[in-house]
Point group: C2
Chain length 368, copies 2
């Protein structure tokens, strides 16, 4: 697969770590990159200009097929010519396939070889997703990167269940690849295989055989201890094709991003910086802090002295704590600006280190 307008340019390596540029018809994505998650067509609390502005300067954001299919529904998105028009986002987007949420969120689900029947977590209504339906929905959403419809088993699933998920994911990946996509939409395959290196490598071969614009590792950070994920990353990431981007789905902490990048991953997404922000947990150059802590009550210093974001340049820890304690909506937004800035700057600092032939910068322990 080599979708028109898409190419991955490898710029430099440092050990297994890679710096590159993913060229897309809507603009370049500098890698390694963290992609903020816009579940329902909004990266929670953020306006598009805030995401575009320095230091966040998001080059790509995510949308969730499962959520957007249920609300507002595909007719509404189609009226806007796709998710870009709906959310007023003019840079690249990536949509997942809906598979992960069908298995993790829906009221109940019943899987068969053809697809999955599930109940909406909102109103219990019945729906069915198949590889073809997922691709149709993702076609309407119109992101630059679509993902194959996969089955993501639980972290502690036994080998037979893992094997079945791989087999099914491969069969579904083939069906997804056969669906015609709108111009300007690429498709990534998803490697399953749980915590078994041999399974991962075998499944990867199956997907490479089909051929995709990029490859993702699915089924990680789903409950297993971090060292287990790191073991898989260290053994698998750099064996993924060199010529296409490598995406670690749903990950993770700053330390996870450091470990993933070190292992050769190019792309990450996670709700962690945005969700943690809303709950008052903030990543800083000095480690993670919980803003509700009483020690910040009269702290007139900035949240993170090393951070150039609007929040750190404008407000004190004391003020932010006050907003949080009072449930003021402004807090969630100021905290999100900061955490996304932290993540963006972290990725940029790793990218610069790779480009300049330096070791990746250390992550404060307290941010793991």
């Amino acid at each position: 697969m080599n979708t028109d307008g898409f190419s991955f340019e490898l710029q430099a390596t440092r050990g297994k770590a890679r710096a590159g540029i993913l060229h897309t018809p809507r603009g370049d994505i500098l890698t390694p990159v963290f992609m903020p998650v816009g579940t329902l067509g909004s990266v929670k609390t953020m306006s598009p200009d805030e995401l575009r502005a320095e230091p966040i300067d998001a080059k790509i954001i995510l949308g969730n097929t499962y959520h957007l299919y249920l609300r507002p529904g595909m007719d509404v998105i189609a009226d806007h010519g796709g998710l870009h028009g709906f959310a007023n986002w003019d840079r690249p987007m990536l949509t997942d396939s809906g598979g992960f949420q069908v298995f993790s969120l829906s009221g109940s689900n019943k899987i068969d070889e053809d697809g999955v029947t599930f109940q909406s977590h909102i109103d219990g209504s019945k729906h069915r997703l198949t590889p073809e339906v997922s691709m149709e929905i993702q076609g309407i959403l119109g992101a630059e990167i679509a993902m194959v419809f996969d089955q993501c088993p639980a972290a502690d699933a036994a080998k037979p269940a893992q094997d079945a998920a791989m087999r099914r994911t491969t069969a579904w990946a083939k069906r997804c690849a056969r669906v015609e996509r709108p111009a300007g939409q690429s498709l990534f395959g998803i490697v399953q295989g749980g915590l078994d290196v041999e399974s991962r490598l075998r499944h990867m071969d199956e997907l490479v055989e089909i051929g995709f614009d990029g490859y993702a590792l699915g089924g990680l950070s789903v409950g297993e201890p971090p060292p287990e994920m790191y073991r898989i990353l260290d053994a698998v990431a750099d064996k993924m094709p060199d010529s296409t981007p490598r995406y670690l789905m749903g990950v993770g902490t700053p330390t996870d991003l450091y470990r993933g990048t070190s292992a050769g991953i190019d792309m990450f997404d996670c709700v962690m910086p945005t969700r943690n922000a809303r709950f008052g947990t903030l990543f800083t150059s000095e480690g993670k802090l919980h803003i509700k802590n009483a020690r910040f009550r009269r702290d007139t210093g900035p949240l993170d002295p090393a951070c150039p974001c609007y929040t750190c340049q404008t407000f004190t820890r004391s003020y932010l704590r006050h907003l949080f304690k009072c449930g003021e909506l402004l807090f969630a937004r100021l905290a999100t600006i900061h955490n996304l800035s932290y993540y963006a700057r972290l990725m940029r600092s790793m990218r610069n280190a790779i480009l300049e032939g330096r070791d990746l910068p250390e992550i404060p322990d307290a941010n793991s």
Copy 2:
């Protein structure tokens, strides 16, 4: 009273309506003006730059003494050199005296000639406000305009209760006027008297006798029918001193602002635009609308075609409805930007009409 750095410049009149400039040490306030309410040191969902940006361009915002005294507490505000530093607001501010909330919000309150003992609505803790304490708190908050500590009786209070409130408000106003204020802080008196014109005029005379930098009408929009308030405005507003600003407290709807301005009022404040926004009620040039209405589901037009605000220039009604229905935090902010823009533009259009010798522009009925 003629506080250094404060003066009111009357620029033009049209009937009883006035256009002017309130000069303050922190900048000029063009009147008639609507002041967004920043209860807890934040105009809910808004960052200071959003409030400063066109078309909101707020020249002054409010802070609530009662709320800020309870949370975060005066030591925290003092650490920041006052409310301006705490909230990072560099333009003029006005603080109320705490009186209104003590009577309307506190768990219980006991009034005597010296002041009021009340229970916090948050944790039931006991506190006491007197005119001197209110002025001391307002001194620490450091707004350009402080308000006298008054007693605001219920709208349906009988004449003896109204008379007692006036008597007490006058006595307390004298005590407030005797307290030394920080440099750059003016003080406004508050006229009570309920719905009785004669009482209002008499009480106003008592306050003018003491002498303040401006005068406010309190105890209106507290439950009485709008025509009753308009009757008082029409009979009282233009009898307030010409040379100082006239402030109608806690009011109101777009129609109220039109009626108030027409009667000669210069300043307004109300939580209506911000609170309504969060609940999905939006003021537009075509009247008020409720964004959750099913007819907006596939409406790809702007919220208000006549509005230049970020929300109207960037998103569709369909997208806004989706955000509202999903409880996305971004909605509250986009809606607040719009409603505050609507209010700011309404005030500016009235001001321009007065300056240009035209009748005040009509308000759509549906915005009353």
